[in-house]
């Protein structure tokens, strides 16, 4: 499937959490759910340099990413993208990512309602983020899709 297929772009725009599979230097698998934004030609997933996902991408750039629209339950349709990734730590990219993530996850009616409902926990969230950053730089895993395919839900045929 062409990675510019309209159905694929629709999922990339509406999916909220991507699951990225990676391999360690020794070939051990790992998969992590991460927030992401779609950029023309790339998928940017946000994490911190010390995480397994980021370390694995540095060791082996091959990735497999699952995306689905969480609110569409029937029929479940999953997009799998295979590609290559790099880890970016440049401040310009990070600023652009942060802005897009805020627009996608926070500055929406659902996002605002969610954070207002959890005001008391925001201080802990800030501490948690600061703690993570103290262990390593924030980074973007930039995925360049090479192949894409739709996988149906076997429960629904």
């Amino acid at each position: 499937m062409n990675v510019d297929d309209p159905a694929m772009l629709d999922i990339l725009r509406r999916c909220m959490v991507a699951r990225i599979a990676t391999l360690s230097r020794n070939g051990r698998p790992s998969i992590n759910p991460l927030y992401f934004v779609y950029m023309p030609g790339h998928i940017w997933l946000g994490t911190v340099e010390w995480t397994l996902a980021a370390r694995n991408v540095k060791a082996d750039p091959r990735v497999s990413v699952l995306l689905e629209v969480e609110r569409d339950r029937s029929p479940r349709l999953v997009l799998r993208i295979s590609g290559r990734a790099i880890v970016r730590t440049d401040p310009k990219g990070q600023r652009s990512y942060n802005l897009r993530v805020a627009r996608k996850y926070v500055l929406t009616p659902g996002g605002i309602r969610h954070y207002l409902a959890h005001l008391r926990q925001l201080k802990l969230r800030r501490h948690y983020a600061a703690q993570n950053v103290s262990m390593g730089q924030p980074c973007i895993i930039e995925v360049t899709p090479l192949e894409a395919e739709f996988l149906g839900d076997e429960k629904h045929g």
Binding site: M16, P33, E70, Y128, K155
Partner: protein
């Protein structure tokens, strides 16, 4: 010294196994890492996963895999169970969805769970 943690006792994430929101397997293949959506049935404490027969690649017996069960979209709703283990062949569990698929069991070696809704300070044990 205290640190903030999202980690929870995997036993308290049992709800994810009883009404699996979304689940997938990850394993190594000749083509790199492979992420495969699955249907997961937690039966008698066993993790039974169905992989569509038509899937291009499947993990072989004894192969290391990671089973991820996760849910949530907004930050404090994000929860997951992350199980590293090995696969072995299995038969379909009772009341399994009728479909053309292969069943495998994931035998856990290590399990971790997190829930961002439970962020809290704990004593730093590093």
């Amino acid at each position: 010294m205290k640190q903030v943690t999202r980690n929870i006792d995997p036993a308290s994430a049992r709800g994810l196994l009883e009404r699996v929101p979304r689940a997938c397997l990850c394993f190594a293949s000749d083509h790199g890492p492979q992420a495969q959506p699955i249907v997961l049935v937690w039966h008698d404490g066993r993790y039974l996963a169905s992989i569509p027969q038509k899937a291009d690649r499947k993990p072989g017996p004894g192969q290391e895999v990671v089973l991820l069960i996760d849910e949530g979209v907004h930050y404090f709703d994000l929860r997951a169970l992350y199980i590293r283990g090995q696969v072995k062949q299995a038969s379909a569990p009772p009341e399994a969805p009728a479909a053309d698929c292969t069943w495998v069991e994931v035998v856990p070696l290590k399990t971790v769970a997190w829930d961002y809704g439970t962020l809290r300070e704990v004593r730093d044990e590093r």
